[in-house]
């Protein structure tokens, strides 16, 4: 099957293919713009949010702001993520407590839901000396199948979701009841609230990012131009007790998703290894042939 006659060209072909894909990935990943803004507000840092670290959902939100510069424009659509670290959403005790049947319509009591990430952000751009709000789109941040099939609100009672949720307890860490999550928008409230759905898709690793909003509307449909921006943070999610950090990430996306240098490098290494092996084998091959030639003479 894998005689030298097939294997040598195979290795060279594989290597070249690997290098080609690797270069493509590396280039794509390189064009993606990404900006990370840490707003944990660790004590003794002179971060504006440092004064908010005692805030929690029950004690009421604490507002802090963060100014930053974009040296180069971010072509749209730009995604706004929040990233938590040292947060074990994949802990078994945490995951086991969820009950998806409830989320498709029955009342509940869950750890995952209870710990819903509830910091909120607004973004402003400095235009002519004043900060203009950047429109953030909260629609389409979750999987379509999740928000349209898997998660369902209970049947409305007398046309009111509040009545349907009547008799259920508000999750203790929530500032408001489930039906008030995005009270103005009946398609995004209660269980079908997309922020809630995104949170419920538990992360694989203890450091994870989740999609918060997208910038693709109004003056910003082409992306974020370079300039000065201000991020207003409604700080109410404590992470310092478990030595975690919080970040806001602005990132453009491409066909390969967000910035991911690993894939490109891995392909390049693999491709080079294949070609190197090909050369070694060729050398071995030639050596044998020369030996044979000498035997013949």
């Amino acid at each position: 099957l894998l005689s030298a006659g097939i294997a040598l060209p195979l290795f060279f072909a594989l290597g070249l293919a690997g290098l080609a894909v690797g270069l493509g990935l590396h280039f794509s990943s390189g064009t993606i713009r990404e900006l990370e803004l840490d707003y944990t507000g660790a004590p003794r840092s002179n971060h504006d949010c440092a004064r908010c670290t005692n805030a929690s959902a029950t004690s009421g939100p604490c507002l802090c702001t963060l100014r930053f510069e974009l040296a180069e424009p971010f072509p749209g659509p730009v995604c706004l993520y929040y990233q938590l670290s040292n947060y074990y959403q994949n802990h078994r005790r945490y995951g086991v407590s969820r009950d998806d049947l409830q989320l498709s319509g029955d009342p509940w009591g869950l750890r995952v839901a209870n710990s819903l990430f509830n910091d909120t952000f607004t973004l402003h751009r400095l235009v002519n000396g004043s900060f203009m709000p950047v429109p953030l789109d909260s629609r389409g941040i979750s999987w379509w199948t999740d928000s349209n099939v898997k998660f369902r609100n209970p049947e409305l009672v007398n046309g009111s979701l509040a009545t349907a949720f009547w008799g259920t307890a508000k999750p203790p860490n929530w500032p408001c009841a489930a039906y008030l999550l995005d009270a103005g928008n009946p398609n995004n409230t209660g269980f079908v609230n997309e922020d809630f759905i995104v949170w419920m898709r538990t992360a694989a690793l203890p450091t994870f990012r989740k999609l918060y909003r997208r910038v693709h509307q109004g003056n910003f449909s082409a992306g974020l131009p370079h300039g000065t921006y201000r991020l207003d943070i409604n700080y109410s999610y404590p992470v310092l007790p478990f030595k975690g950090t919080k970040k806001v990430i602005l990132s453009t996306v491409s066909w390969m998703g967000g910035k991911n240098p690993f894939l490109g490098i891995a392909y390049l290494v693999f491709g080079s290894a294949c070609i190197l092996t090909g050369f070694v084998m060729l050398a071995v091959h030639i050596k044998y042939q020369q030996q044979n030639q000498m035997d013949e003479d």
Binding site: A4, G5, A7, W255
Partner: protein, 958 residues
């Protein structure tokens, strides 16, 4: 009617022993007592022949039947592969335990930080808080055990059983092992030992009926020292006489041949009374082919046996007159006496005893002055490889007969020690006889017996012939079937060399010491490392007979001789071929047991066709029966039965080799695929706070071994032919590559384990680094933990299946179907499982996970890359092995022919055409002027070009 029986013997070799007595009561009459022996017993599964009905009494039923009692010994045979599996299992159990221990320990180390133990978002339940710490640790340990238990390949046992069961059909389906004559193929009685056929080191074979046809042909006879031989050419007339004996002696001899036997006549479909047509319509049947040959032989000289009618034997003499003899007693043949007799009364009222038997058992019983002339003939015939029998007679007076009759009846009625008593009586009766002559019967060698033995030798097996025949006969057969070559140096330990005298033990001691010394000189200790190095050395053969063997195995009180056995064994193990003649059935088994229990416990195989081989067939690791002419006892008690000895070659070299490779690969593959299945799950614990979070969905966990990866390996383990059957059968040296359980040693096991570990690491950390940014879709949405697990699982399923595809050398449509089918089924199942909200599931965690996964290009690229990386070392190894093997085997390798483009491009100038020519010349084996050319190499590769055609009964060169 009253029936009494001796005690039931459950020992397997006592299958054909039965002692009983029947009393028949009739009104107003004395009860009649009749003895019952094994000849009156029908075993379970017997079929009636030559009669429409019989009356019988059931003596044993159910599990107490002799057959049922004899079946028990078989299940205890365990193959070496199973022992290896158990060893590997222990290793994997240790891995499992250590994984669980590491995780439990790490969990409590990690939890010693309170913010890890119980962060605000993930509080413990009341129950958890109240549980004792030790108890919690214990339950944690158990939970980890459950999480990682898939590393123990439970499904392997099911697959192995299926493989063995289905695989055994290939032996019985093999058309090459089908025999036209008996219209039967090979028979598989047990499927547990298929792979053991590939591990055989010692072959113990019976001679008569196994190496030889057991179709006897009367060759010549001698009467009073005069030789009578049928001539082959018709010019000389039908018979050629070398001097004549007296007419009456001639007739006496031929009558003896016609009367002294247990042959029956089976008539054709239509029975008519016409005696003249008898020859055309009837056939002789007997349990012993020798007797038929003798009766047929007598017919050629004018005396034909016409059958038994109302206790009268009818014989047609040379003058076409029918003589009648009343048959009074048959003194049956037994292997201890080695002779049989009949007592008849002639029409004139004379009482005659005719006796025939082996020369050694007849000569002591006749007048010593008669022996000399006949002995010379017998010895010469034996040297020619013929089976010889001597015929003697004596006349009895009425008084003598009455006494004999009484003794026989008494002995027959005995329920205790009947056999001993009978033997004693027979011994007394068969004394003071007169020798008339001797017969020589040829037993032809089975076709390809010599080639088969040579192939077995070349495959590194040692062949021992164990026979009941006399030494000269057996020796010449051994030469004829090339067990001994002309250059084989023979070491003899027989009554001839040891002698009969009082000093025989001393003499034996001397001989043993001498042989031992000689062999040690030839095999210096430093070469002992190579187990089969004897192949390269001077070849030795050993001949030993039954009486010497019992002297060695059961020495007299003299304590100095107790270590004979070890010395003897050392001598035996260094000989290429061993011939044991004059063996009793139990001695055969004794020898097998002795070799079996030597250091390294080599795998033994016994092959035989008769009831006297049953004990050694049962004793050996693998027992093979020949479906021969001596009944079905051997094939019934064997593990495998084949029609001919030559089928052993394919059975071992092709089937055995393939079965071994298949099952070894199956075992290794199962351990490997479970290791790389569970390793990522173990590694994931380090990233989920050691919380027993499974990496894969429950459906994947359960279906991995059952559905996704089971069928390809099953198909592989049934159909794989890594080397095709023709090559395997024609090149016996390939058999040595798998000797000593080579594929299930620790080295290959470690290789597979490292491969599994490497792949597990690649799967997990590849996806781990990919998930450093979990937004992998082009719309910026993120993946969660179930997608992580599904990606790992997808890579896993594809990698282990493709790994098997890489290993598969023999592709059938079935392999294609199961390999690609399994992968397609996995994809289909994943879509299906994630495509529906399952009402019975509490969590719909896989909902559309797989569908989302395949929409991400990055994930595709990652999966492809990680599959390639996982398989890379394997591909590399295969390629380097191929290159190296090519370079070693054919220095002018076909690489240059296959890669003309590259070599031409690089300016490596090669005269391909010339090479091609040389290779062709080499393949024909006619290379003359190229001593170091590839031809010499190729010749090594075909050690059996063309055998010279040997006559079936080659004259003994000694």
């Amino acid at each position: 009617m009253e029936l009494s029986m001796g005690h039931i013997s459950s020992r397997s070799e006592r299958l054909f022993r039965f002692v009983g007595r029947i009393n028949i009561y009739r009104s107003n009459q004395e009860p009649i007592a009749r003895s019952l022996g094994p000849e009156n017993l029908l075993l379970k599964g017997s079929t009636l022949k030559n009669t429409k009905k019989i009356y019988g009494v059931a003596v044993y039923t159910g599990m107490e039947t002799k057959m049922a009692l004899n079946y028990q010994g078989k299940s205890q045979k365990r193959s070496a592969v199973e022992k290896s599996i158990n060893a590997f299992l222990v290793v994997y159990l240790c891995i499992l335990l250590s994984k669980a221990t590491v995780c439990t320990t790490m969990k409590y180390v990690w939890q010693s930080n309170p913010f890890n133990d119980e962060p605000w978002y993930n509080e413990k339940t009341k129950k958890e808080k109240e549980a004792f710490k030790v108890l919690r640790m214990f339950t944690d340990f158990l939970s980890f055990m459950v999480l990682f238990n898939f590393i123990i390949p439970v499904s392997m046992y099911v697959t192995v059983e299926m493989q063995k069961f289905l695989g055994s059909f290939f032996i019985s389906w093999d058309k090459e092992m089908y025999d036209e004559e008996i219209k039967e193929g090979a028979l598989v009685n047990t499927s547990d030992l298929n792979e053991e056929l590939g591990q055989v080191e010692y072959v113990f074979t019976d001679k008569t009926g196994t190496l030889t046809e057991n179709s006897m042909e009367f060759i010549e006879c001698c009467i009073d020292g005069h030789k009578y031989k049928e001539s082959i050419s018709e010019v000389d007339g039908p018979l050629k006489y070398y001097g004549k004996a007296e007419k009456c002696r001639e007739e006496l001899f031929l009558r003896a041949l016609c009367l002294c036997h247990t042959v029956q006549i089976k008539e054709g479909d239509q029975v008519d009374g016409l005696i003249g047509h008898l020859e055309h319509r009837s056939t002789y049947i007997s349990s012993s082919p020798d007797e038929i040959a003798l009766v047929k032989g007598a017919k050629k000289y004018g005396f034909s046996f016409l059958g038994l009618e109302n206790d009268y034997m009818k014989v047609k003499n040379q003058n076409n007159e029918t003589e009648r003899y009343q048959l009074l007693h048959i003194l049956n043949f037994d292997p201890v006496r080695r002779r049989m007799s009949v007592i008849v009364r002639t029409i004139t009222g004379k009482l005659l005893l005719f006796c025939k038997g082996a020369d050694s058992s007849i000569f002591p019983k006749v007048q010593q002055d008669e022996i000399q002339q006949t002995k010379a003939h017998v010895d010469r015939n034996a040297m020619d490889g013929y089976r010889t029998l001597c015929v003697a007679f004596k006349e009895l007076s009425q008084e003598e007969y009455d006494q004999i009759d009484k003794q026989i009846c008494e002995a027959k009625m005995a329920l205790q020690d009947r056999e001993e008593k009978m033997a004693k009586v027979f011994e007394d009766i068969e004394a003071n006889m007169h020798l008339i002559g001797a017969t020589a019967v040829e037993d032809k060698l089975q076709e390809q017996a010599a080639e088969t033995i040579e192939a077995l030798h070349a495959a590194g097996m040692k062949v021992w012939v164990l026979t009941g025949d006399k030494m000269e006969t057996a020796k010449s057969t051994c030469y004829a079937c090339r067990l001994f070559q002309t250059n084989t140096e023979l070491l003899e330990l027989t009554t001839k060399t040891v002698g009969h005298s009082e000093r025989k033990e001393d003499r034996l001691h001397e001989l043993l010491m001498e042989y031992h010394k000689r062999l040690l000189q030839d095999f210096p200790k430093n070469r002992g490392g190579h187990k089969r190095s004897w192949m390269l050395n001077h070849e030795y053969g050993l001949i030993i007979d039954g009486s010497t063997l019992s002297l060695i195995l059961n020495p007299s009180q003299d304590s100095s001789s107790s270590n004979y056995k070890t010395i003897f064994l050392q001598i035996c193990l260094k000989c290429t071929a061993v011939l044991c003649c004059r063996m009793a059935p139990l001695q055969k088994a004794q020898i097998v047991r002795m070799v079996k229990s030597t250091k390294g416990s080599p795998i033994t195989l016994s092959i035989g066709d008769g009831a006297n081989d049953v004990s050694m067939i049962l004793e050996a690791h693998v027992g093979i029966g020949i479906k021969g002419k001596e009944g079905r006892q051997a094939s019934r008690n064997s593990d495998y039965a084949v029609p001919k000895f030559k089928h052993l070659r394919k059975l071992l070299l092709a089937h055995g080799h393939l079965y071994y490779v298949r099952i070894a690969h199956l075992v290794q593959y199962f351990f490997y695929k479970n290791l790389c299945f569970i390793l990522p799950q173990f590694l994931y614990q380090f990233f989920c706070g050691f919380s027993q979070q499974p990496l894969y969905d429950a459906a994947y966990l359960t279906m991995y071994n059952i559905c996704f990866t089971s069928l390809p390996i099953l198909a592989y383990s049934l159909l794989e032919q890594h080397i095709n059957i023709e090559t395997l059968t024609s090149d016996p040296q390939l058999y040595m590559k798998i000797s000593d359980n080579a594929m299930l040693q620790w080295k290959p096991f470690l290789y597979w384990t490292f491969l599994g570990a490497f792949e597990g690491l690649v799967f997990f950390f590849g996806v781990y680094y990919l998930f450093q940014n979990s937004s992998l879709e082009d719309n910026g949405k993120v993946f969660g933990n179930w997608t992580f697990g599904t990606i790992v699982f997808t890579i896993l399923v594809f990698t282990v299946t493709l790994k098997l595809a890489l290993d598969t050398r023999f592709w059938t449509w079935m392999n294609h179907f199961v390999i690609w089918g399994s992968l397609a089924f996995y994809v289909f199942f994943s879509f299906f499982w994630g495509g529906i909200i399952w009402p019975f599931l509490k969590q719909q965690r896989m909902y559309f996970v797989f569908a989302h996964m395949v929409t991400s290009l990055s994930t595709w690229l990652a999966i492809i890359l990680l599959i390639f990386i996982s398989l890379f070392p394997e591909i590399l190894l295969i390629v380097f092995k191929n290159v190296r093997r090519k370079a070693q085997e054919h220095p002018l390798s076909s690489c240059s022919l296959k890669l003309p483009a590259i070599t031409a491009f690089l300016g490596v100038n090669k005269s391909n055409i010339q090479i091609e020519n040389q290779r062709e010349v080499g393949a024909e084996g006619t290379s003359r002027g190229h001593p170091s050319s590839p031809a010499s190499c190729l010749r090594q590769h075909h050690p059996y070009p063309n055998y010279p055609i040997h006559a079936t009964n080659q004259k003994c060169p000694l």
